[in-house]
């Protein structure tokens, strides 16, 4: 009659075998290769790298296949692998001013040194499903420019010359070290460095919604896209033994500098303020959302009223990580029968008491 629930081990093994089977799908179709994912689903790879906070296309592509295309699951796989990597040191700050630009647009200036470069963008495409892609169309080679691109200084640097925008705060002092949220526990309130790190690996959808909310009046910041640039930058590492920095390679990043109105205060004259976004790979949506959120979260520093969710540091930073969020939401499906038993007893007891009182 009663058979105690057992055999968890066998059940798990079977479930995982079934999962592997479903992942592979119809065996008469060729299996996906990592190269195909990297080449043809590049933006998915970029997202897995950005939110997985590990720049490795092949690992990210593998994670996407293994996760059956579930990007949050893929991000999780990347993060779990990242945990096991020993830390050798910190690279020098990347210099996006020296980026090899693939795309660069400014919404604040019609033309500027270095020009506007559209690059590979969905903007201005008509969103019409294209059956030719399904039939494996031949894509012609893109046009390339022959001239060496001129130097493209950052828009915020151009504005800074006039003092119209707050300066970047350079790390002048030895004690101004940049934190590392993957090595030290977050302790609120946070400084902007840690906040930006959290935003950079935060969930794209969550940040998009929050950034959007600031546009709709929940902490309105009058943003302008000073500049978005996408391209490759050099990662350099100081080797103490050598006394100079060596290049480790190049990574592709998306940077967004949002320029926001600021009325000024008793101490500071009116000037533009910044919201900043930087993301691995190509992801304008994420970089823009991040810079809106960054600006909103600076409310305390700038002496603004904190009235909207996007300005609430504990709320935003505590909930933006999709690996944390998905784990905790999904843990509800784990057994809770011990606690439920306790609640069951309580409800029975309270019902009995109520009935007694009624009689």
């Amino acid at each position: 009659m009663y058979v105690a629930v057992k055999g968890g081990e066998a059940a798990i093994a079977n479930a995982h075998a079934l999962l592997a089977d479903r992942r592979r799908g119809d065996r008469s179709l060729p299996a996906l290769g990592i190269g195909q994912i990297i080449e043809q689903l590049g933006l998915a790879v970029d997202r897995a790298m950005a939110e997985g906070s590990l720049y490795d296309r092949e690992l990210a592509a593998l994670a996407i296949i293994q996760a059956r295309g579930d990007l949050i699951e893929a991000i999780f796989l990347v993060r779990a692998f990242r945990t096991t990597l020993p830390r050798f040191g910190y690279s020098r700050p990347i210099d996006t001013g020296r980026m090899l630009i693939e795309r660069r647009v400014s919404a604040t200036f019609k033309d500027l040194p270095g020009g506007q470069v559209l690059g590979p963008t969905f903007d201005y495409t008509h969103r019409l499903l294209d059956p030719e892609i399904a039939s494996g169309d031949d894509v012609p080679a893109p046009a390339t420019r022959d001239t060496v691109p001129e130097n493209a200084p950052r828009v915020t640097d151009l504005l800074a010359h006039e003092g119209l925008i707050e300066p970047d705060n350079p790390l002048d002092n030895a004690e101004d070290t940049v934190g590392d949220l993957t090595r030290e526990p977050l302790q609120y309130p946070l400084d902007r460095d840690l906040r930006l790190q959290a935003l950079a690996r935060g969930d794209e959808g969550f940040l998009l919604a929050l950034g959007y909310s600031t546009q709709r009046g929940y902490a309105r910041s009058h943003p302008f896209v000073g500049e978005i640039r996408i391209g490759e930058v050099e990662v350099e590492f100081d080797v103490p033994e050598l006394g100079f920095a060596v290049s480790l390679g190049r990574i592709r990043v998306t940077e967004c500098q949002m320029v926001n109105q600021f009325k000024g205060s008793a101490k500071v004259p009116p000037q533009f303020t910044r919201g900043y976004g930087l993301v691995f790979g190509q992801s304008e949506r994420k970089a823009m959302s991040m810079s809106l959120c960054d600006r909103a979260l600076r409310a305390r520093e700038l002496g603004e009223d904190i009235s909207a969710p996007a300005q609430d540091e504990e709320f935003v930073i505590s909930h933006l990580d999709n690996v944390q969020a998905t784990g905790f939401v999904e843990h509800l499906k784990l057994p809770h029968y011990v606690d439920f038993q306790a609640e069951l007893d309580l409800v029975r007891k309270m019902r009995a008491e109520q009935q007694e009182a009624a009689e």
Partner: protein, 293 residues
Amino acid sequence: MSAAPSYNFAYLDEQTKRMIRRAILKAIAIPGYQVPFASREMPMPYGWGTGGVQVTAAIIGANDVLKVIDQGADDTTNAVSIRAFFAKVARVQTTTHTHAASIIQTRHRIPEKPLHAGQVLVYQVPIPEPLRFLEPRETETRKMHALEEYGLMHVKLYEDIARHGHIATTFAYPVKIEGRYVMDPSPTPKFDNPKMHMSPALQLFGAGREMRIYALPPFTEVVSLDFEDHPFEIQHFDQPCALCAATGVYLDEVILDDQGGHMFVCSDTDNCEERRAQGHRGALAGHRLEAGR
């Protein structure tokens, strides 16, 4: 991509283990205080025991014998999964016997059998902050702990009594440690609270997502919050375990049919099996019990 990933003993790199051990030592030095630590992503999801797994990974050695329970049982899927993880990445011996284990990682229960000196009980903790549902802000709750402002905790208990005539918290029942910190015992039923008091075993609590570790060194005073005229009480069951006839243990309700038929069996499966092996028989025993399909 480099060659196939190879993992360090117990998964975490040694740097990370040292960081976690420092947090554990601090936690032991200040019983009940939540020590922040830089929690890592683990290969299981947050909320599924990453805190406990990190604590276990930081303290486990090659000679340890590990037991993992979830809801008191060794064979629940998550317990099986975590046990298999350590068997794989640390190649340690595992057991289901409470007395044979040197480290017991648990979710939601404390074994019925009293623990002995030298054992470590590692709790998986979802929300380490006992004040969280009264005050959502970390900055504020940290201050409340620092200043020992725990009036709000009793406000909640007061409300329970005013509304229900008794305290209506049945699990994650808050405790006070050595007269100082109010601590969340993790979502164990309050039935288990007395077992924490003056336990000869070391008790470690890991909350991965919330990045906190706290601890009870052996023989620590653990007092469940209450009122003088409404003292703390544990749950009592009207009937013994239907399989091993044990009384004074925590029971799970098992639904037998859709006619409302149910029975109560031990939540601690190891304890139940051992009793049955000793010849104890409950009302519904005698059937094919040592199941497995």
